[in-house]
């Protein structure tokens, strides 16, 4: 049993930290014993804030961090449980991790906390002064809680081990192609593909006259063989002919967005998941997992497994998606509709600064839904309160695929994607997710 004062310290901390959860739910979730799952949860809540507030953390970059953090948490957990299996040798380039000293005592909470403390510091080294200040406060609090009342040698050994896991993962991450983000992901030089079918800048923001992260599709993947492992068919052939499939899909966006219902507007906003204003699309799915973790009091091994598989899946989805985006380099609806249908048309959402096909949110949502359905089942319902503090009410979903499909269609309502990009994006995600599901994590 935790002491009375510690209980309230923890309660206070959770109320401060867990932005998406109500006081009532925190109260219900207050732990009766120190559980590494609580540290895992707390660090991830903090990471969602850092993703929002670190300038380089565009959606692909955020997904990469979620993959590495998930693997870090998994290896910290699996190394202390004989029933669990390391991902070394299964993930591309991940070599055998440091071993624990046989016969020595480790504290699992201290290991988890040290691993994530180190990993978060490594992956968010470039966050701003407020992020650094918050990180220091969270580290101090969680470290104090994890180590209170424990033997000094156990603490020292456990911390060192956790840090060695994080350092190994960091070393692995450095040559994946995504470690260095210059100019927030926008190249200083880039030659646009000529022709009306291809992407052109859609924003008056100077930095965004180049497409974001054009080389991301060449990054090393995690579970799938490479960025081209889940290819997609070509999008409808570009045409300005009113009878063409291309025109018809553009007209669908145009007609739909001209008469959006309140519900459609809500859906578009709910899944907008803008970088630097939200935890990004990948963070949205992580937020869903954190809410389920809290609601269902998931064990640390289940939590770490789901976070790792989902992180890997969404990271691979963004790599695969970017590979296809720059393969076809398709024009955005805002450009086509203004050019061909209605020069005065405006989309509800701000069009992201990169090619259209497929939809990144659809690809990564499909991948996440595939993994989470595998972990929890086809008809696993949940409420999603990710954006409650921004004034968007929680939404209820009957299944993960229901959520993924809504995330996909939200991009059509928002006027930033054609239907083919959404449908094929979800299909690509399904393919990507299968690679993450195939990982052997239990003996």
């Amino acid at each position: 049993m935790v002491s009375f004062s510690r209980y309230f310290l923890r309660l206070f901390f959770l109320v401060s930290l867990l932005s998406v959860f109500t006081f009532k739910s925190v109260l219900a979730a207050a732990p009766t014993a120190k559980d590494p799952a609580d540290d895992l949860h707390s660090w991830y809540v903090h990471v969602l804030e850092l993703v929002r507030h670190t300038a380089t953390y565009t959606p692909p970059v955020a997904s990469r961090a979620f993959a590495y953090l998930g693997v870090t948490a998994w290896e910290a957990t699996a190394s202390g449980d004989d029933h669990l299996k390391s991902l070394a040798g299964q993930l591309n380039g991940l070599t055998e991790l440091p071993k624990r000293e046989p016969g020595k005592v480790y504290d699992e909470t201290v290991v988890m906390n040290a691993a994530l403390e180190d990993a978060v510091k490594n992956f968010f080294w470039n966050t701003g002064p407020t992020g650094q200040r918050a990180y220091a406060a969270v580290s101090k609090r969680l470290d104090g809680e994890a180590t209170a009342g424990k033997a000094a040698d156990v603490i020292e050994r456990s911390k060192a081990y956790g840090q060695s896991i994080a350092d190994h993962i960091l070393g692995w991450s450095k040559d994946d192609g995504g470690a260095v983000i210059e100019n927030m992901g926008f190249p200083l030089e880039y030659t646009l593909t000529k022709g009306p079918a291809h992407w052109v800048p859609t924003s008056p923001i100077r930095q965004q006259q180049m497409p974001m992260l054009p080389g991301w599709g060449k990054n090393r993947t995690f579970a799938m063989p490479d960025g081209a492992a889940c290819p997609l068919p070509a999008p409808p052939e570009y045409s300005e002919d009113k009878d063409s499939a291309f025109y018809k899909q553009a007209d669908e966006v145009y007609q739909t967005t001209k008469k959006l219902t309140d519900e459609q507007k809500t859906i578009a906003r709910f899944w907008s998941d803008d970088p630097m204003l939200t935890p990004t699309p990948a963070g949205h799915w992580v937020s869903i997992i954190l809410q389920i973790m809290e609601r269902d009091r998931l064990s640390v091994d289940k939590s770490a497994e789901v976070l790792a598989r989902t992180g890997i899946a969404v990271a691979d989805a963004f790599i695969g998606c970017w590979q296809v985006k720059f393969q076809y380099d398709l024009v955005r609806p805002i450009t086509y509709i203004k050019r061909v249908i209605d020069p005065k048309w405006e989309a509800m959402l701000i069009t992201p600064p990169f090619p259209e096909y497929p939809s990144g949110h659809s690809s990564e949502s499909g991948a996440a839904a595939q993994v989470l359905t595998s972990a929890f089942g086809d008809s696993f319902s949940f409420d999603d309160a990710t954006h409650e503090r921004e004034g968007l009410k929680p939404r209820h979903f009957a299944s993960f695929w229901a959520a993924a499909e809504e995330a996909g269609i939200s991009r059509l309502y928002g006027g930033i994607h054609f239907r083919a990009a959404i449908e094929q994006g979800l299909e690509q995600g399904r393919c990507v997710g299968k690679h993450a599901i195939a990982l052997e994590m239990r003996k």
Partner: protein, 538 residues
């Protein structure tokens, strides 16, 4: 055809272009580049805006004449240091000279200051924004000030205040203040989303020359600049609020209806207000495009914004703005010198005509928030010179004001009363800097100030028009905007080669004065119903 209409035609073409967003403004002759000489070391100014997290924003400069010699004196925020007051001892046209002096304004935890005559006694008072209690300092004359919170019923609160604006609502004998408050500074683990309430301080009653307890302006989204401005020339200013997206959740830029006697209400999307989310840090305003309405330059991280009404000719104006920062050349999105290509961080912004060609130029103070590695560390201040077709040209380095310090607040003002706008800049954890405008190629000028009997002595809310030939300059007289500091000084108008100009005032109550002739080089006091009074400058 006026410049404004040419500009709008080309602007429209730029805005509806979907193939590229290349600039479409006509090429024009290179503007006259002013010359500035830094005189910090010899000026007597040596002030540091010091502090870490709680002082990463703020650092304003307040400029006003408090001893009646017409030369602008200076108050610089000090953060953890005490604010520093400097009496202006410059001679006309000479080097900039200041003397640090105990004025009563030397308080700690000051983030910024705005001068205005609160009680209408003809002596300038100063509102000090602080991390902690905000304080009104009543001017006693001869640059001495005393605390007036209790006497004037002003509840200074206990916030992290970083934005301020003031107006005299119609019929009021007392000003209305808007105070913008930033993050909950006690929130350690998750300060994001902890924006604290903004306040509206109004007169207690028609007969009480005191402030009522403040109203809260909810929702509040961590503003770093506020401005009462009559955006649609309705006669009633609205309150523009520029908010820092880093800290709000569900927020955006805001504009409030502030109608006398009524609860403030936000402009809505149904009224045409469009959602814009930036790292709002400073507001500068002038009529850039000649449509007769104020335009707004908003500083941010990376691209700044320049907002003009989309349809200034509409029968019923809608607060729907186009961003013309790019086609006019004022995005100021990254350093233009010094070798860094990472995005910039903009703070104070101010329109003034620094080369006296009759066109408003734009200064932007730049500096990294603290140590944000994804933004430029060596981030030079901008001096953007406007050309006749409305396009601005970066000239900070050529003019000599491209400081790489972590700048915050600033003020362009004619410190030595030679008709050229000088510059003072507050830097975080480094000394403030001051430059004298030593241009030899500038045009002529006229400086004016407004004087009214009654409560609103400086005619805040008035409009001044200055006409030379077929060109008319328009200026709204406001208290607010910029970043954490304001100016209550001579209003400066460049005249180009013209030896004379006509000036007209639209007074705050709507009465329009007559066009009256003034001579270039003059310093005129404009009073209602009277001829311009030329002040002799010593």
């Amino acid at each position: 055809m006026s410049r404004g209409s040419v500009f709008n035609t080309t602007l429209l073409a730029a805005l509806i272009s979907t193939s590229t967003l290349e600039t479409s403004l006509a090429e024009e002759a290179a503007p006259t580049i002013p010359a500035f000489a830094e005189e910090t070391k010899t000026s007597g100014i040596s002030s540091v805006y010091k502090g870490e997290w709680q002082y990463m924003v703020g650092g304003g400069a307040a400029v006003f004449d408090c001893n009646g010699d017409e030369y602008p004196d200076v108050l610089l925020a000090g953060g953890e240091n005490k604010a520093a007051f400097y009496r202006n001892e410059s001679k006309r046209g000479g080097e900039l000279k200041f003397a640090a002096e105990q004025s009563g304004l030397e308080l700690d935890k000051v983030t910024g200051g705005y001068p205005l005559d609160v009680d209408g006694d003809g002596i300038t008072d100063v509102v000090l924004l602080r991390v902690g209690e905000n304080i009104i300092m009543r001017g006693k004359g001869e640059c001495k000030f005393e605390r007036a919170n209790a006497a004037w019923g002003f509840d200074g609160g206990d916030g992290w205040s970083a934005a301020f604006a003031a107006t005299w609502e119609k019929g009021a004998e007392w000003p209305t203040f808007a105070v913008g408050n930033y993050i909950n500074r006690e929130e350690e683990y998750s300060p994001w989303g902890s924006c604290t309430d903004n306040w509206l301080h109004r007169q207690l009653s028609n007969t009480d020359k005191k402030f009522a307890p403040p109203l809260t302006l909810k929702p509040s989204f961590c503003p770093l600049s506020m401005l009462f401005t009559d955006w649609n020339r309705s006669g009633t200013p609205s309150l523009r609020v520029s908010n820092d997206r880093e800290y709000y959740e569900g927020g955006q830029e805001q504009m409030w209806h502030v109608e006398p006697g009524q609860t403030p209400a936000l402009y809505t999307d149904k009224e045409g207000w469009k959602r814009l989310r930036i790292w709002g840090m400073g507001i500068a305003s002038t009529d850039v495009n000649g449509d007769g309405f104020p335009d707004y330059f908003l500083t941010s991280m990376a691209d700044s914004k320049m907002q003009v009404l989309k349809d200034a000719k509409a029968e019923k104006l809608s607060p729907d703005y186009a961003d013309i920062a790019w086609p006019t050349g004022v995005t100021a999105q990254r350093p233009y010198t010094g070798g860094e290509v990472k995005p910039s961080t903009g703070w104070h912004a101010q329109f003034e005509d620094v080369n006296n060609d009759g066109l408003a130029d734009l200064f932007v103070a730049k500096g990294n928030v603290s140590a944000m590695p994804d933004f430029a560390q060596r981030d030079p201040n901008n001096l953007l010179i406007q050309g006749p077709a409305g396009k601005f040209t970066e000239s900070g380095d050529k003019a000599g004001v491209a400081s790489f310090a972590q700048s915050r607040g600033a003020a362009l003002a004619d410190f030595n009363l030679d008709g050229l706008m000088d510059l003072v800049v507050v830097n975080r954890n480094e000394s403030a800097q001051i430059w004298r405008n030593v241009s030899t190629n500038a045009g002529k000028f006229v400086n004016v100030k407004l004087a009214e009997p009654g409560a609103n002595r400086d005619a805040i809310g008035a409009w001044i028009e200055v006409r030379t030939g077929d060109k008319t300059q328009l200026r709204e007289i406001t208290v607010g905007g910029g970043h954490a500091g304001g100016q209550l000084v001579w209003r400066h108008f460049g005249l180009g080669p013209e030896g004379k100009a006509e000036v007209r005032v639209l007074w705050p109550d709507g009465e329009q004065g007559d066009w009256q002739s003034v001579d270039a080089g003059g310093y005129y006091v404009l009073e209602r119903g009277k001829s311009p009074f030329a002040t002799e400058i010593k």
